[in-house]
């Protein structure tokens, strides 16, 4: 297994290119997709792999994202490994089918390139699209950079298809910031990815016509609840599977993943929690502050569904103060989705840090080191013994008001 690590190739790729390369190596039986900025490049590149005979995939250029997800669900239920990709409005149009994919337990994997939702229309990054799908029953994995997008996509196949799980997985990266930014990416050999993902086995394939099954029936008051209870159980079971798959992936790639990354957290007194590409900027700021003697750290959430509540609570409960950065709002006056999850996870902790929320970067608004530094200083003050109360719990960072 160590051989693969040595034969990895370094390539300069955008996030979209890295995702397309992962899809080429996964080599799904069916891809059904529709163009939308900033995801389009993934399906364009993948189409060239199809045209050049580099994959065995049947590519279905559908007429909408609703049909993209419908066809992907149909293909996966038929007995094929099936993928699609989308962003923003495309994900919103799939909304009905997201719940159906999860309820039918089809292990579809989907790269999702984060982009703001209309209105006003905007093509740049925020997380309002995937956060809108956070309760759809899909597992959600967020990527900081192109390398993580590549690694997460490959692992997602194994997580989704695991017999204990059988749930769809969306793997996200930040639109333009990562999807169109070029970085060095370590690519595994094709063979290693193929061996890692293995053969697709859906337990009840429609194409097994000798053993006909009825998929997607009507279940009423007497059975619907049991379906949903089992679905909830599968999400619980996904936690162990995610860690086991990460462990196995580390053996072939040398890259190790968990539910989240704790950065400079060992002796930290205050910290920020972030998702996606902002982690890179925040780490830079934390390095600077650390040099000045500040005891600050960062937690980057990788797995948002299932949410690693108890594990996070254990890590964060000893802190004096915590700021949670959200690239989406819930418009509930209670703060962003990540804030609500983290705060809920801390509720049962014996020692709770003071906790505030920063909503930032909507519609691709730049988050620069100075803004993060400013937030960290506020969080530090909040944790000091002189601090009087918490002040506003939901703060907006980098906006004119």
């Amino acid at each position: 297994m160590a051989v693969a690590v040595e034969t990895q190739k370094t390539a300069a790729l955008t996030g979209n290119e890295a995702a397309a390369q992962a899809m080429r190596q996964i080599n799904p039986d069916v891809v059904a997709a529709y163009p939308i900025t900033p995801q389009t490049e993934i399906v364009q590149l993948f189409s060239t792999f199809v045209s050049d005979g580099l994959v065995k995939t049947e590519f279905v250029a559908v007429e909408s994202e609703h049909s993209a997800m419908s066809a992907t669900v149909g293909a996966a239920a038929a007995g094929a490994r099936a993928m699609t990709a989308t962003s923003s409005q495309g994900l919103a149009l799939m909304w009905e089918m997201l719940y159906i994919a999860a309820g039918m337990r089809v292990p579809v994997v989907m790269p999702m390139v984060n982009r703001a939702l209309s209105s006003p229309i905007n093509i740049h990054c925020d997380h309002s699209d995937s956060m809108g799908a956070r309760d759809s029953g899909w597992l959600q994995i967020y990527s900081e950079n192109a390398q993580e997008m590549y690694d997460n996509l490959i692992q997602a196949v194994r997580i989704a298809e695991h017999p204990d799980v059988l749930l769809p997985v969306m793997v996200t990266m930040d639109g333009f910031i990562i999807s169109h930014g070029m970085e060095n990416v370590e690519l595994l050999p094709d063979r290693a990815v193929q061996d890692f993902v293995g053969e697709y086995h859906f337990p009840y394939p429609l194409l097994d016509v000798e053993h006909p099954k009825t998929l997607g029936p009507l279940a009423l008051q007497d059975f619907y609840f049991e379906f949903k209870r089992q679905q909830a159980e599968a999400v619980h079971r996904a936690k162990n599977v995610i860690l086991a798959v990460a462990e196995e992936y580390a053996r072939i790639s040398g890259r190790r993943y968990g539910f989240f990354e704790a950065y400079q957290m060992d002796d930290a007194e205050y910290a920020v929690v972030v998702l996606g590409s902002t982690a890179g900027t925040a780490k830079y700021v934390i390095d600077q502050l650390r040099q000045a003697g500040e005891k600050c750290g960062l937690v980057k959430i990788r797995v948002f569904r299932p949410f690693p509540g108890p594990e996070l609570s254990e890590l964060l409960s000893g802190l004096k103060a915590l700021g949670i950065l959200d690239r989406a709002d819930t418009f509930s006056t209670q703060g962003g989705p990540l804030y609500l999850e983290v705060k809920a996870a801390l509720y049962h902790a014996l020692k709770r840090p003071k906790c505030i929320n920063y909503i930032y970067g909507l519609g691709g608004r730049d988050i620069d080191p100075e803004l993060i530094r400013q937030a960290l200083m506020e969080i530090k003050d909040l944790g000091s013994e002189q601090a009087d109360g918490v002040g506003p719990i939901v703060r907006y960072l980098g906006v004119r008001e």
């Binding site: 039986d29 069916v30 059904a32 065995k56 995939t57 049947e58 279905v60 250029a61 559908v62 007429e63 909408s64 609703h66 049909s67 419908s70 066809a71 992907t72 669900v73 149909g74 293909a75 996966a76 239920a77 038929a78 007995g79 094929a80 099936a82 009905e96 089918m97 159906i100 039918m104 429609l206 194409l207 097994d208 016509v209 000798e210 006909p212 099954k213 009825t214 998929l215 997607g216 029936p217 009507l218 279940a219 009423l220 059975f223």
Partner: protein
């Protein structure tokens, strides 16, 4: 095909489903399923057919069946058919399998039109069947774009100002034929042999096929359960629902009434038009007859009659 022979063919759709007594769709789909020589995978839009045949933990389907949502039977089956082509090309499956998508007229004419158009345009080897009962019957008899003019529905109720649905139905069969697919046809559950033959042709073509089959809804049309077949027959005999096919672009009439009945005779068979005969609606009835006659003439020309 003789009727006794048809009766001997295995049933892929069993009894015991919970459709109404006198419902049209079970007759329609049994005939179509019997015309398929290969094993089939059936996809189904949300609607009466789906909710009466798959009440968990029971199913009336003896073949592979998938339902996902209302507007996407064609898209879901596009994915199933693409999976089949992919696995067959890879040598992972060797059987010949036929693929069918069923949708009512709501799921086909209205909310499913985009997915249907996309699937037909892409050329999936898929037979799409609209079991057309001229309204949203599952949700309680609302108008669709297949509902005839003048029909009383719960969203076009006959009142003092409006005598039922104001619009004529759209010509979906012609729209599908305009996609240039190898086979599109209009049939009726009343003419089982014509329907059977058209289904055979639909399965035989190498590409997409579309069947628009009139299937009585005795609740929505307000007819007696025992009259289900007769009422569908009446629609054919008065030229409201002509039987024709478009094979590789060539239009052909497959049935011609010897002496077409007045449309009003067919309408009088159904409670949904009752209001039109309780007061003076001569003008409306005349314009409906005129429209049917014009459509029929246009169809005759298209068919070179």
């Amino acid at each position: 095909m003789a009727l006794p022979d048809l009766a001997k063919k295995p049933q892929r759709f069993t009894g015991g489903h919970r459709a109404c007594a006198g419902c049209g769709f079970p007759v329609t789909i049994k005939i179509i399923l019997q015309a398929a020589e290969n094993p089939v995978v059936v996809g189904c839009a949300t609607g009466c057919m789906e909710v009466t045949s798959t009440i968990y933990p029971y199913t009336a389907w003896r073949c592979s069946f998938i339902h996902t949502a209302f507007e996407n039977a064609a898209a879901t089956m596009s994915g199933v058919e693409a999976a089949y082509r992919s696995l067959k090309r890879q040598g992972k499956i060797d059987k010949d399998i036929d693929f069918i998508a069923f949708g009512g007229d709501g799921g086909t004419y209205d909310i499913g039109l985009q997915a249907l158009s996309g699937a037909m345009e892409r050329g999936h080897k898929l037979v799409y069947v609209c079991y057309n009962n001229q309204g949203y019957m599952n949700t309680g008899i609302q108008r669709s774009s297949a509902t005839p003019r003048g029909a009383n529905t719960t969203t076009t109720p006959a009142g003092t100002h409006l005598p039922g649905k104001p619009q004529y139905p759209k010509d979906l069969t012609a729209i599908m034929a305009a996609h240039g697919i190898p086979y599109a046809a209009q049939a009726s559950m009343s003419h089982w042999n014509d329907l059977y033959r058209k289904a055979q042709k639909a399965f035989a073509v190498d590409g997409p096929a579309f069947l628009n089959v009139l299937s009585t809804c005795r609740l929505g049309w307000a007819t007696a359960p025992e009259d289900t077949v007769d009422v569908a027959e009446g629609a054919v005999q008065c030229n409201v629902w002509p039987l024709f096919e478009v094979e590789n672009g060539k239009w052909k009439l497959t049935f011609k009434p010897k002496k077409p009945l007045p449309v009003a005779d067919w309408m009088k068979q159904q409670g949904r038009f009752k209001h039109l005969f309780q007061s003076d609606n001569t003008e409306l009835l005349e314009s409906i007859q005129r429209q049917v006659d014009e459509d029929w003439q246009r169809l005759l020309e298209l068919c070179g009659e």
